[in-house]
Symmetry: C2
Subunit: 338 residues, 2 copies
């Protein structure tokens, strides 16, 4: 099959690889209906994260089960399934409390930008949709595998509740779906921080009531203005830089919460500032598996349409253009059809 391999900064290729097969009795093999490029794929693509030789790429996926190992009980061939970017057993003590991305047996899914994928611990990792979905629903179902689940976790981690004022730092696909998540959870006011007109429009479509284009200290000052000097009740940090993290913490009211899902790159937090901020901090790799049943249900019943974040659709053999377009911020998120 033709699969996506990163060779080095800016160098993504599609090349021939062996078809994945069942290796463990708990595996499933699925035929990918759609996959996509993640914001986190851009860190190594930009040379900001080292790779160790040619590296297969992709961790967002949905598709039809082709084959399952002898121990698999909950999914079967022919079903349409979605899984998280971390495979998990869904039975260990960490999974049990809803932190499947810290599963004691977790395995990162890293070869999903391809037509066929082996998924370990299929019973713990995959959730089937009620039926094979219509084609138009596939993009929204695909987002549930990572980007929508991650925006949702940012809002959960920030304790978003009905009536709250919520600020979202970051206008990538995760930030935009953080806006949608906060809207679904009943936030009254949602401030999206963005300086891109196209992304601002999508933020508004997802429920943003205010747009702030300033960043850093000026961005914080704007949030303080809007909240009458109090700060936001909840802030979603969806970038992962020092600036975005401090912007999030300083925009939050005492007793408020920051939910952070941008993988931190070079972030250091000063203990004393954090202490006197009285801010609550929670985040990490989103335990997407916890949210899969609920989010699939919301998409299936037309309550949310997170697939709108895909503004570029390409056949898999043009994956390099997907990386380029996202790197240059021409595209918010690129969907790939094998």
């Amino acid at each position: 099959m033709k699969a996506t391999i990163l060779y080095g900064p800016g160098d993504v290729r599609v090349e021939e690889r062996d078809l994945p097969r069942i290796e463990q009795p708990t595996d499933a093999v699925i035929r990918i209906s759609a996959t996509c490029v993640c914001g986190s794929d851009l860190w190594p693509y930009r040379g900001l994260q080292a790779i160790n030789g040619p590296t297969p790429m992709g961790h967002e996926y949905c598709g039809i089960v082709e084959e399952v190992g002898s121990a698999v009980r909950t999914v079967k061939p022919g079903q349409f399934v979605i899984g998280s970017f971390f495979a998990s057993d869904n039975t260990c003590p960490h999974c049990h409390v809803g932190y499947q991305t810290s599963c004691q047996q977790r395995e990162f899914i890293s070869t999903a930008q391809a037509p066929v994928l082996r998924v370990p611990m299929a019973d713990g990792t995959l959730v089937a949709t009620p039926d094979v979905p219509p084609d138009a629903m596939v993009p929204s179902l695909l987002t549930v595998s990572d980007v929508m689940g991650t925006g949702w976790f940012a809002a959960v981690a920030a304790n978003v509740k009905p009536g709250m004022t919520v600020a979202v730092v970051g206008d990538g696909a995760v930030g935009l779906l953080g806006v949608l998540s906060a809207q679904r959870m009943g936030a009254e006011r949602i401030i999206a921080m963005s300086r891109h007109e196209k992304r601002q429009q999508l933020a508004r479509a997802f429920g943003a009531t205010d747009i702030v284009s300033e960043r850093g200290d000026e961005g914080v000052a704007r949030i303080m203005d809007i909240t009458k000097g109090i700060g936001a009740d909840a802030v979603l940090e969806c970038v992962g830089t020092q600036q975005s993290m401090m912007q999030a913490i300083r925009s939050t009211r005492p007793g408020g919460s920051v939910g952070y899902v941008g993988v931190p790159h070079g972030v250091e937090l000063n203990g004393e500032e954090l202490f006197f901020s009285h801010v609550r901090l929670h985040g990490g790799p989103a335990p997407v598996r916890r949210f899969l049943p609920e989010l699939i249900d919301l998409v299936w019943n037309g309550k949310i349409d997170p697939g709108k974040v895909f503004d570029l659709e390409l056949p898999l053999d043009q994956v390099a253009e997907g990386y380029r377009a996202m790197d240059e911020r021409r595209a918010i998120k690129a969907l790939l059809r094998p």
Copy 2:
């Protein structure tokens, strides 16, 4: 009156100062029944925190109201009152959500190691007991002003719930009262980290089920042993150093919480480690005012006896010995009678 003044490292004196008087119509003046030395007083006493000339000391207090300003409505002369180490209006948006130590008008109380104290914003700061307490109850009521309220906040911030396994880092008075707080909140297993036999005994008296004397990585390994490799559900950080903070974070299970109340001195948190730990972090200066009614009630009705942390009682003119004894760890906490 004779008041406590810090002149420099190791140099505490009692000297003559003017008697405090009502300055604002919202003030109260109280005659101190008991005050004490706080662990945080030791930072400047040890020269680890700069002072700017001779500095009056003391922020833990309880006593009898002598006089109130013309605007004071909720307390009156003759009542026994307790207040927080930060005066607060108790009406601003931050007070409203229970973060009175971030009150928009907060004022630090800093002259309480003295016979008489002026308390600003008396209506927002002070809470009266049902009656003038018997003398034997005064030490426990005094703790509610800071050290008990701070241990309690550590447990609240760490989301301690019935049945949980809780670890407490720090065996100072705050840590010991963190143990007592966790016990009151229904924790099933409480691991106190201490290497002092006397403090270990008090920790056990307050409800600790396990004692861990190791620190740093070895301390973390012991917590992991005790929790079968999972980590504690909640960890109370009651020190404020880099080592104690990392010990707390690394002892916590994914999805668990660290409540930190030790004022951080030189603490820097690595964003990436925090992210992948999946730990929830909350803390800061304890909003004691939020807890005053509940904690006064628990002491008044004999449900808790936090005054046990005072193992040294001195007349105020021997305050220097109180600092020395705590600095040398001969005493857990020194109570002072003016």
